[in-house]
Symmetry: C2
Subunit: 228 residues, 2 copies
Amino acid sequence: MNAATEPLRVDRPAKTLRELTLEKMREAIFSQHFRPGDRLVERDLCERLGVSRTIVREVLRHLETEGLVSNLPARGPIVSRTTAAEALQIYEIRGALEAIAARACAEARQPATIAALDACLARILAGYARGNSTLVLEATSDFYRTLFASSGKEVAWNIVNALTMRINHLRSMTIKTPGREVEGPRQMQRIVEAIRAGKGEEAHAAALQHVASASAIAQRLLREREGG
Amino acid sequence: MNAATEPLRVDRPAKTLRELTLEKMREAIFSQHFRPGDRLVERDLCERLGVSRTIVREVLRHLETEGLVSNLPARGPIVSRTTAAEALQIYEIRGALEAIAARACAEARQPATIAALDACLARILAGYARGNSTLVLEATSDFYRTLFASSGKEVAWNIVNALTMRINHLRSMTIKTPGREVEGPRQMQRIVEAIRAGKGEEAHAAALQHVASASAIAQRLLREREGG
DNA sequence: TGCCGTACTATGGCATACCATAATCTGACG
DNA sequence: CGTCAGATTATGGTATGCCATAGTACGGCA
């Protein structure tokens, strides 16, 4: 952090309509306002969002490229359905990337990073204690954001971020699984401890394991859903 | 492969103008017709491509989301410049994902997969022997495509594919490095041998190493470029 | 009564036109 | 000769409108 250049950056508040719309749409999908499989009819979205089709189309293209929206030929765009197989792949990729970031953090061993991770962990525990799922999800995202940002893995973070949106519904179900409020934070704690100790490979392994157990839960949920 | 459903699929030849334009643009960037940093003025592209700005803009949005194009505020789109730091990250991510795919292939141990990989390898060697870089690059891409397809890692493949385009210029320089025509194929051979032997972890490690050495060469090239 | 063809409608594909603003040029004034 | 203000231009942002086609509903004919 260079105090002369970094602070107080205003980051272009003059957003374009397209950017605003993108955020709105993302939020709408994220919050399950649009469910997987729902059709996204361009003209309907225009009316709802109060923007022109040009904007809506560009935003849909963007979301499609991210994988959040699929375009059925001669049907139009829908919110992507994530199959069990895809979810498995997504968890696997996330695991690999988060493991890389965790290892890098451990090797850097920055006190500021560790403090930030501790703070996120505290929020996660608070969220579980109060039964506040939103807080848990937010703090978990912040945990990983910190992990990637601190290790300078912006590219990986962008990928993880996009992938995470595609398994959003699974995430919110996963954290509500009995026992997850103990196991999840404990595994994340292990990541932080490994980073604190500067043990790269341990952090790597701990991150892998955390995602792996989330993946296992998700797979069980998906089987249940498909089974009945 | 289900013979009843898979073969002869025509795959929607009625492509939209947008899709055609996307391919053209990708190809133009891939073939260095547009270089990193070049401005992509919408109206100029319209004229050159013979399509409307609507199309061009949607395509640019798509490429931007993929990371191939950057949008400078109040300046417009340019072909993304890949910094040394980004390239390092991209190689690291590719390594992790290719390692996962290689491991999965080894665990599956499909004769068809191994045969296809062998064929790719032969083409790579032929390409080096004839000094045909294009063939080398193509066959290398096919090698990895096979690796990901055979292991059913479509999601990862999409990511790798997008990332690869961003380091395209480095790839073509890397394979021309003295000694690479020996080391590269040898490392890929090791991946195939591990798969043939059904040794997942060995395949994983071999894939990691292959990318790591490519990354090392790329870093050297980038330092040279920035140095003088 | 059931099936097929036709008309209609919903919806995406594409092009054009206008507007706002940032970059740039130009000329006058100090 | 330099600098600053105003005009001009380049360029992206946005809206609108028409067209083609896939899906759908309806009516007639067997």
